[in-house]
Amino acid sequence: MEATAHIDFIAAAYAAAVIVVGVLVAWVTLDYRAQRRTLADLESQGFARRPSLRGDGAIGAATGTSKQPAKEQA
């Protein structure tokens, strides 16, 4: 009897958990896709973090970078 009376609170708690976890999973998944897509777009335009990987000399010349790979950054 008690369980039936409180089942709505239990269901609401589990629904809240599904929503919160769902939002977190959607956030990391969509964010990953967006970052990957933007990174691919920029790299296809010839931009790369390491000078040795850049597509053409224009960017290297513009930034005054050498052929020495840049120190690893996050």
């Binding site: 809240a16 977190l24 996050a74």
Partner: protein, 242 residues
């Protein structure tokens, strides 16, 4: 591979790419097992069926505190060693910790209404947990307010260290003050006061939630590293145009 090598963002990305599918699979399996255990658990002699809310509430509370603990260690990494992966860890952990703290507050309220007769009381445990949630929001806002990631990291690290004062207050509030919230019943001197038929599903769900936390944290850290690479390339692009 020595552990210190993982502090290299490129190596971390490779490791994240290979481990996230396994972590995700393990998390799903752990939740399938945990939810089955939770549904089959008997009703508590006092709480009745509402004890099933505890299988969500307690792990959420633990992870809300664990995430701030992770951020505190990362804050030391930022301020002492100025390591970029420490910044990445702190920034990635904040929204996840905020979400689990919010879930703790929601499920606690939904348990409180049938058991205490109210959704909310300004009890020391509830209030300190609400403060933890507000601290998470403040750190997230700080990350988004300062444009330069390394400056934002230092500001957020200081706030994180100050906010860490709230962790022992949350934990020991039930001992220091006379609260409506029950005292510690899982990890305590003299052993748990919970019957194994309820403790087992609780710990199983806590394991599943912890796996979820680790999976989300690794994935969010990978996203943050990629975001910083995008930022670097945007700066290169801007300098090339000008």
């Amino acid at each position: 591979m020595p552990l210190i090598d993982l502090a290299n963002p490129s190596r971390f990305l490779k490791l994240a790419d290979s481990t996230i599918p396994w972590l995700s699979g393990l998390t799903v399996l752990a939740f399938a097992f945990g939810i089955e255990q939770a549904m089959l658990a008997p009703e508590d002699y006092q709480q009745g069926a509402t004890v099933k809310i505890m299988f969500l509430h307690v792990p959420s509370a633990w992870l809300g505190m664990l995430a701030w603990g992770v951020m505190t260690v990362a804050a030391l990494g930022t301020l002492v060693w100025r390591h970029p992966l420490a910044d990445v860890t702190a920034k990635a952990a904040a929204p996840i910790g905020a979400a689990f703290t919010l879930l703790c507050l929601i499920t606690g309220s939904l348990w409180g209404r049938p058991e205490w007769g109210t959704y909310w009381v300004w009890d020391a445990r509830l209030t300190s947990e609400l403060i933890l949630f507000l601290l998470y929001l403040a750190v997230i806002a700080l990350w988004h307010t300062v444009d330069d990631p390394s400056r934002a990291a230092r500001a957020a690290a200081i706030l994180t260290l100050v906010g860490a004062i709230d962790l022992p207050i949350v934990k020991f509030s039930v001992d220091w003050w006379n609260t409506l919230h029950q005292g510690s019943s899982v990890f305590r001197i003299g052993g748990s006061t919970i019957d194994p038929s309820i403790l087992t599903p609780l710990l199983t769900m806590a394991g599943a939630f912890t796996l979820l936390f680790v999976t989300l944290l690794v994935a969010a850290m990978r996203n943050e590293i990629l975001r910083r690479r995008v930022r670097t390339l945007h700066l290169l692009q801007a300098s090339a145009v000008s």
